[in-house]
């Protein structure tokens, strides 16, 4: 089978799974829906491997294949088809998406076991995977926009999954609205590309762009900036990031799959996919890189003070995506995609471990309440520490190689790109610190009440309350189900976490400087024409970068050890001495308030003005005036309609008599 045949099959299985589960929810017993969904994604993963292997059989320059299913719209000068582009970048993304999705489906089979919306969850989840794969495999801008919008919808549906939870539905709406802002940017970019180049096909656009535009052409920069609006909204970069922390209201596997491992990396994929455009518009690429740097530092600083376990990981996701955006924007395509892959592994793992801990805590997420789970949850604790090590970039783990590759590449480009190296290493220090803020808080210290209960074999059950509103959660429709599931007691969860733990530790081996470059060789099929792809840091500078990165990671972890294990009171004292700084960070740099003041209030004010003045005075004045005039006129003459037939007859006769008299007088 050719790679494109595999491409169609990759898309087919999740869609079929989603529809089958959606239609069969009533008859699927027990955990069948979960296993069905997992099997669909596993089949898709197998096809991704098939596509990968069949691409490897081909020579490097012949690894970009397109296929069309049918013509969607054909008109004069417009030719849109339902077509896919299978190339090394798309296949790598497919492998990451389907592989991680498969493990998260497997985890969810057990984790959501007692949820009333079990089948609904897996139908949504399969639909999400289908949308994401459509986005990745799309061969033209139209299909890209379709996949992009589907992904936004799937995210909305899954954030609002517990629909009786007010905060969850509000978070879903917020995510959807901000994502639609991005969709608008993407659609406008596609329109501009069509106006300039007359085609929606990726490969035609990439071929034509060199001749049509000069470097930093105004239109091209506008196109790239509009693409960036889409990418930033999806990937939660400043200033369109505020939805991502709120998206943690959804079930934990959703946070792991959509809001950490796959969907939020769509923006990174988009920038990498559009590399011929961005290489011709260095201004736009630099704007993207600086936004990524700002995001990674802001998010890392917020992650230092937030106390909600899932929100800390969410901010770390934003921060890590900042690294990827920097990477693909400055031309470090391999490194950016490599970091995307390793991040998918360790961040999904962190969320899974967090889910297990939260279940053990009877759904409380405040890390200030957690401590000493190392004996109560030995397996979860081990995997949590592995995830935190990879996130921190501890020497030897996967995050160690991928993060440093981006930063060394920035240094290799020199000049102002040194800013990214320095800022990135500073961010890495913060990352190591907050990664082990989670790790030490959960694992180390005296066992908390829940941990002690668990050590004696009891899983704590409590009436969970919504931390934002204080309302008791409605466990009847799901949140979070009457029973809790921890990895120690559920085999599917343990398998998923173990596989991801292995990958988080060892996935770095495919791309070790001076030793292996598997990913780079494979991606050459996509990026071979990119001038920046040819830049390679020398081995010595790469090793120097790894040394610096490793030292920084160890320094951050040591500081976390000092603050949370050796001298536990240190952070509380720091907080008391610097209340302003703490409040500034804990209030998330006031971005929500900024958007509130800049967008929400003016729009609401304009709406109120339109209601009070335009609608009430102008529109209702005209409409009400016209109807009122007709009514008044009618009142004047309604007295004539007495209902006396004889009066009408008299009127007729009298009228005719008067007319006859008149004509007699006139004619005589």
């Amino acid at each position: 089978m050719s790679p494109t045949d595999f491409g169609w099959l990759i898309l087919f299985f999740p869609l079929a799974g989603s529809i089958a589960i959606a239609l069969g929810w009533r008859v699927l017993p027990g955990r069948t829906a979960g296993w069905l969904g997992t099997a669909a994604i596993a089949a898709s993963f197998a096809c991704s491997i098939g596509a990968f292997v069949s691409l490897l059989d081909r020579p490097t320059e012949d690894r970009q294949l397109t296929a069309r299913l049918y013509d969607y719209a054909t008109s004069v000068g417009l030719d849109i088809d339902v077509g896919i582009l299978v190339d090394p970048l798309a296949v790598v993304m497919c492998l990451i998406v389907t592989g991680v999705s498969m493990l998260i489906h497997l985890y969810s089979v057990a984790y959501l076991g007692s949820d009333r919306g079990y089948a609904r969850f897996f139908s949504y989840l399969n639909f999400f995977v289908f949308s994401m794969l459509l986005l990745v495999l799309a061969g033209n801008f139209v299909l890209l926009v379709v996949g992009w919008a589907f992904v936004g919808f799937a995210s909305y549906a899954l954030i609002s999954f517990w629909y009786r939870r007010g905060t969850a539905t509000a978070a879903g709406m917020k995510a959807f609205v901000i994502n639609v802002v991005g969709d608008v940017g993407l659609v406008l970019a596609a329109f501009l590309i069509f106006r300039e180049l007359g085609t929606f096909q990726y490969l035609d656009v990439f071929d034509a762009v060199d001749e049509h535009f000069t470097v930093n052409d105004g239109t091209l920069v506008a196109i790239c900036l509009l693409l960036l609006v889409g990418a930033f909204a999806k990937s939660a970069q400043l200033p369109l990031h505020t939805w991502l922390p709120d998206a943690m209201e959804g079930p934990t596997p959703v946070s792991a799959l959509i809001h950490a491992a796959t969907m939020v990396t769509a923006g990174v994929y988009l920038i990498a996919r559009m590399f011929p455009l961005f290489e011709l518009a260095p201004t736009a690429a630099d704007i993207a890189a600086f936004t990524g740097l700002a995001t990674l530092l802001v998010a890392a600083s917020i992650a230092l003070v937030v106390t909600d376990l899932k929100r800390i990981i969410a901010y770390s996701t934003m921060s890590q995506i900042g690294y990827m955006v920097v990477g693909v924007s400055i031309g470090a395509y391999t490194a950016g995609i490599f970091h995307l892959m390793t991040h998918a592994f360790f961040k999904a793992l962190l969320f899974m471990a967090a889910g297990s801990v939260i279940a053990a805590m009877a759904n409380r997420q405040d890390i200030d309440r957690m401590s000493g789970f190392r004996r109560a949850l030995p397996f979860t604790s081990l995997l949590l520490i592995i995830g935190a090590l990879a996130l921190a970039g501890f020497p030897g783990t996967s995050g160690f190689f991928s993060k440093d590759e981006i930063l060394v590449f920035a240094a290799e480009r020199g000049g102002m790109y040194w800013i990214f190296t320095i800022g990135g290493y500073f961010g890495a220090f913060l990352t190591a610190f907050y990664a082990f803020r989670i790790g030490f808080r959960v694992v180390a210290g005296d066992p908390c009440e829940e941990a002690r209960e668990l050590e004696q074999g009891h899983l704590v059950h409590a009436e969970p309350e919504n931390p934002a509103t204080g309302e008791t959660e409605d466990t009847d429709v799901g949140y979070p189900g009457p029973e809790h599931h921890i990895a120690e007691r559920e085999l599917p969860m343990r398998i998923a976490m173990a596989v991801l733990g292995f990958l988080a530790l060892f996935a770095g081996v495919i791309q070790i400087p001076g030793v292996t470059a598997g990913l780079e060789h494979f991606l050459e099929g996509t990026f071979e024409e990119a001038p920046l792809f040819g830049i390679h840091p020398s081995d010595s500078s790469a090793y120097l970068g790894l040394l610096v990165g490793g030292l920084i990671a160890i320094a951050g972890i040591s500081l976390a050890y000092y603050c949370y294990v050796a001298r536990p009171g240190v952070t509380a004292r720091l907080r008391q001495r610097l209340p302003r700084v703490h409040d500034f960070l804990a209030d998330k740099w006031y971005f929500d308030e900024l958007i509130d003041a800049l967008v929400y209030r003016p729009v609401i004010g304009a709406g109120r003005f339109a209601n009070d003045v335009v609608e009430r005075v102008v529109v209702q004045g005209i409409v009400g005036g016209a109807t009122g005039a007709v009514r008044e006129l009618g009142l004047l003459v309604r007295g004539a309609q007495s209902g006396f037939i004889r009066a009408y007859a008299l009127l007729v006769l009298g009228g005719f008599a008067a007319l006859a008299l008149y004509f007699l007088v006139v004619s005589s």
Binding site: A640, S642, G643, I645, R646
Partner: protein
């Protein structure tokens, strides 16, 4: 006989009919008076027709009779329906269409 006599008789008949329509309250009688007025018109049509030697007037008279017959059918039907529904047979009391 000259034309004037016919016209005078026609005018008298018409006046009687009109007076009946205006003064009587029973719908049946009003209907009869309407017929009287129509026939007054017919009489003058025929008189003009004979005096001018033109048959058009006679044709008009026939058409008026057809219309009158139709009108009687509808009118009598309405009156019977009113009677069956025990409505008052008095046009002054039938004022539902008052504005």
């Amino acid at each position: 006989m000259s034309l004037e006599w016919y016209l005078v008789l026609s005018a008298l008949l018409f006046a009687v009919g009109a007076a009946g329509v205006l003064l009587r309250r029973s719908p049946l009688v009003i209907l009869l008076c309407l017929e009287l007025m129509l026939n007054a018109g017919n009489l003058s049509l025929l008189a003009f027709s004979r005096s001018l030697g033109n048959e058009d007037g006679q044709v008009f008279a026939l058409i008026v009779m057809v219309v009158a017959a139709c009108e009687v059918v509808v009118g009598l039907g309405l009156i019977v329906a009113m009677y069956r529904r025990r409505l008052p047979l008095n046009v002054d009391e039938l004022r539902t269409l008052r504005g």
